[in-house]
Amino acid sequence: MHVVTFTRSTPDTAAKVWVNEEGEVAWGDVATVVNPWDEYSLEETIVQAKQFGGESTVIAIGAELHNDALKHSMAMGIKNVLRVDAVGLDMSDSLVWSALAAGAIRKLGNVNMIILGKESVDVGTDQHNYQLARRLGWTMLSYVSAIIETDCAAGTIKVEKMLEQGKQIVSAKLPAVVSVMKGINEPRYPNFLGIRKAAKAQIPVWSASDLGVDTPAAATRALRFMNPPARDISTEIIAGADLEAKTAALVERLFEEKVL
């Protein structure tokens, strides 16, 4: 069983992010973290690979910045790391990304399962997973809150999925792409030994041409980035003689605002 996961670095969620005078997105010198949604997919990859005595591999596609996320993944316990350098390619387009990701999976050759996080915390597109599955022609199991059973010999998997309307139990054939939700597990913290090992690791880099894929032209283009209009909020702390008076005043305001 070979389980592969993808991850990348994203700015810390507490960072102030803004559009600078050049029209670029900036976050000062705040450090990046491993995409927080991926802590769950990394953990699940380790668990699934270990359960079946198999291999685990983590791949980042993009610039050197993502080495940090790869090292974090390694420190957590993923065995193999790999970066696909996409110099000159427009990585903001998910069709370009999925062509490279599918190329890397084909080049690895023996992959049974791909586990990803639900979304990237920065761009938040929640679309790369599906397009990768589509390019590979694999089954997509999305919004997974539990992997109930994996049968490597029979090549089957059974999962619990989260819907807006409740939960669903679904079974499918492997290979499959699985995207996981927060709550599927308790991600482990990298331990000291893991961190030391990862710090020393050499990260192999494949270029797009190593993958032997025709990368498509980017279908979409980001035209401009904007700072959202400042929210003009004046807070009114509701005053009143007692709680009855305060809540009555609040309800009054909410009727005036037409939200009740």
């Binding site: 997105v25 949604w37 499918a172 283009r221 980035f225 904007m226 509701i238 609040l250």
Partner: protein, 344 residues
């Protein structure tokens, strides 16, 4: 030329936010001088197509088959990709629900077409489709366009008004054949545990949320429960007997902070924020929530925010339009009673 809108269904009915996607589609169809086509898959789905017509779709393409009675990505995506390839619409829209996102992303990949997800504004500039979407948890907005003949777009729930239904409309409905999916590429639905009747956070006009402060419930935990267990018991009791009655009287959905979810007070489905759900209700009432940046990421877009917190210095008050400084276990029951009298 046309603009497709996939009408998402659940349990044999259209989900209401589908009409918002139809409204968004109509606005660009008008600017492009073309028409909207409702796409409906399912079993006995002609009635939903007719409903789409009343909401303003100029035509409907339906695929009515027993095998489509339950949504499955493989069969739905094969159909949608095929229809898009055949009819070459300028755009394919849906609402950015879980299913809308995966279906449109899959069909976009099949069609090698651009996808703009989770847009809050959609318009035509010099003939091109431009979508505005939030990024970096709403700290930044971006305008995106696509260079392909068809552009796939998912629209954020509650960002576009639904059109008004007109009972006199009954546009033409055309049926298409289902596509056969090889069994090894087909998932099997074993079981569905639907929570019917509960208000969906993404669709909710009003949300009442609780945070870590829910643990400070003055009620005593039953004998034999102590420490962390007692906190959890008290917080659960607070969600059930203090927050839920307020939510019920308002017809609101129940939300929570991550701290409340991680401590085991309430299931993850209720989490609002950067690693939970992004919500945009008209009214968001935060009880015992400090207002951390990652929580704000999920609820900043609410029209009116009300904070109930005992700490006057809590950051949530900087975001709130109205605040009551006080113990939520004193304030919320009185607020519920005030509303009960007023709304009766």
């Amino acid at each position: 030329m046309s603009v497709f809108v996939w009408i998402e269904t659940f349990d044999g009915a259209a989900i209401p936010s589908s009409w918002e996607a139809l409204g968004a589609a109509q606005s660009i169809a008008e600017a492009l001088n073309t028409e909207t086509v409702a796409i409906v898959f399912g079993e006995n789905c002609a009635t939903i197509a007719a409903e789409a017509g009343r909401f303003g779709a100029a035509r409907a393409l339906i695929c009515d088959a027993e095998s489509l009675s339950e949504y499955r990505l493989e069969s739905y995506a094969a159909l949608l990709s095929n229809l898009a390839a055949e009819h070459k619409p300028v755009a394919v829209l849906s609402v950015a629900t879980n299913r809308g996102r995966e279906l449109l992303a899959s069909a976009a990949a099949d069609c090698e077409s651009g996808l703009i997800s989770d847009v809050i504004n959609l318009r035509i500039e010099e003939g091109a489709i431009i979508g505005t979407r939030p990024a970096y948890a709403g700290k930044v907005l971006m305008d995106m366009t696509s260079k392909t003949a068809t552009t796939f777009v998912t629209v954020r729930g509650r960002a576009f008004p639904a059109p008004r239904a007109d009972d006199s409309l009954s546009p033409p409905i055309e049926s298409v054949e289902p596509r056969e999916i090889p069994p090894e590429f087909q998932t099997k639905i074993e079981e569905l545990v639907a929570e019917l009747g509960s208000v969906n956070l993404a669709d909710a006009a009003i949300i009442v949320s609780g945070g870590r402060g829910m643990a400070n419930n003055p009620i005593s935990a039953p004998d034999g429960i102590s420490g962390e267990e007692a906190s959890i018991w008290k917080a659960k009791d607070g969600f059930a007997n203090t927050l839920r009655p307020l939510a019920e009287i308002l017809g609101a959905a129940l939300g929570a902070s991550r701290a409340a979810v991680d401590a085991g007070y309430i299931p993850y489905e209720h989490q609002v924020g950067q690693t939970g759900k992004v919500v945009t209700p008209d009214l968001y009432i935060a009880c015992g929530i400090s207002g951390a940046i990652q929580h704000q990421a999920g609820m900043r877009g609410s029209k009116i925010i009300v904070a109930i917190n005992k700490d006057a210095a809590a950051p949530i008050f900087k975001l709130a339009r109205y605040g009551i400084v006080g113990d939520l276990y004193e304030v919320v029951p009185v607020l519920t009673e005030t509303l009960r009298k007023k709304l009766r």
